[in-house]
């Protein structure tokens, strides 16, 4: 089955391209930083208040950042019509999506991990004791955001007003991810941290549902 090898090769390309220029990563990191600072104006970041509002703000920041970061995903393939070259070369078009969503998940995760210490410091929330659980929820949430965002960026790339359209399409669809991720993160930031397994399970289900949907319908998103 050449799906996974194809996806791996394409993932390599996505990573090589991004790490060469680092433009997506740097702009996303700076954006989230700005959002975090601005959010701090909305309430007093004492330890208690941060535990209440912090998770929500954190995930909102990630969502907004993702809706910007995912714009170029398919747009840059339109530049030299490299999308056609990919479609001609791979046996299963899902490989293209798999590679892109894996790359996007990785980029999102990287920016989130980079910003976690800033968040912990700025908002007085201890993250080190529960770091591995936080990474788990960051991964599951980012995966959901990437799956949906990658699919929708293929749609918005073919429409007008695409810069506004992608957030418009993504944000309502991702409210379950926001709700669940927030909840699990809140549990982890609690004075007596605990893992909200219901939320973790829910995120896994969300990811599975949309990955399957993308697998079933992906080729139509790329059709001409």
């Amino acid at each position: 089955m050449s799906l996974l090898p194809n996806a791996a090769v394409l993932l390599g390309k996505e990573l090589r391209t991004e790490f060469r220029s680092r433009e997506l990563l740097t702009t996303t990191v700076v954006f989230i930083l700005i959002v975090l600072v601005l959010f701090s104006f909305t309430f007093t970041p004492t330890s208690d208040e941060s535990r209440r509002f912090g998770p929500g703000l954190l995930w909102l920041a990630f969502l907004f950042a993702a809706s910007l970061m995912l714009q170029p995903c398919f747009l840059r393939e339109q530049q030299n019509d490299t999308l056609s070259a990919l479609r001609l070369s791979v046996s299963d078009p899902f490989a293209i999506f798999l590679a892109k969503l894996a790359a996007n998940t990785l980029f999102l995760l990287l920016t989130e991990l980079l910003l976690l210490p800033f968040f912990a410091l700025m908002y007085n929330v201890p993250v080190v004791p529960v770091l591995h659980w936080i990474i788990m929820v960051l991964f599951l949430g980012s995966l959901g955001i990437s799956i949906v965002g990658t699919a929708l960026s293929a749609i918005s790339a073919q429409a007008r007003m695409r810069e506004l359209l992608l957030p418009l399409l993504m944000l309502p669809l991702l409210t379950p991810v926001l709700a669940a991720s927030m909840e699990v993160t809140k549990g982890l930031f609690d004075r007596a941290p605990f893992v909200q397994w219901k939320g973790v399970g829910f995120l896994a289900v969300f990811d599975l549902v949309f990955l399957t949907a993308l697998w079933l319908f992906g080729e139509y998103l790329l059709e001409e």
């Binding site: 390309k13 030299n80 070259a85």
Partner: protein
Amino acid sequence: MTPPAFSPAGLRFENIEKRYGALHALRRLSFAIAAGECVVFAGRNGSGKTTLLRVAARLVRPSGGVLIFPGESGAADIAPIRPGFVAHATMVYDELTAEENLMLFARLQGMAQAENRVNDLLKEVGLSDRGASLVRTFSRGMRQRVAIARALLHEPSVLLLDEPATGLDPQGVAWLATTIRRLRDSGRTILMSLHGESEISSLGTRAIRLDAGSIVADTRTGATFRHILTFAGA
């Protein structure tokens, strides 16, 4: 002379139709191209040349009709014919080097000995010394060479060229003509869309004129080459 690494193939359009909404890009086209033919498609902008080639490349899904590559058995173990496609856009990544681009597409197509193949091709198109340069730094002529190298990676028996001489200087056109002649003489089936008479068009063994999505003239049915290429009517 070494035998070709591909098996010659023709293709057949049967009632191929393509509508974009109410716009009829291709109207029930039916024609056959024999293996080894070098066909020039002429026509004004919007006559359907690009759509025809993209349908043949299987990039565009026709609204109706069937595309057949005779000789394709359709059995599960034999891969369907994949034409090589060169468009006006280069279809390569500016942020990667020529070598990285070709390696990418070679590995995607599951080629064994990808590196050797890529090096051979770079030599064939005269870009061996620029293999490690980013495509972004290339001139239009050089980009066209990378595009052609990409199309030839899998040794296709059918080549589709959409206005390949666009933007090339006389030197580039001369190189392109030589390359196409060599490909034609090796037995490949070539379909090219062109605007008018040129060094490239004279390589064709057959010409077809399209207008508003239909075939209006074909050298196979008596029209002359010159007439098709210089048709200046509605």
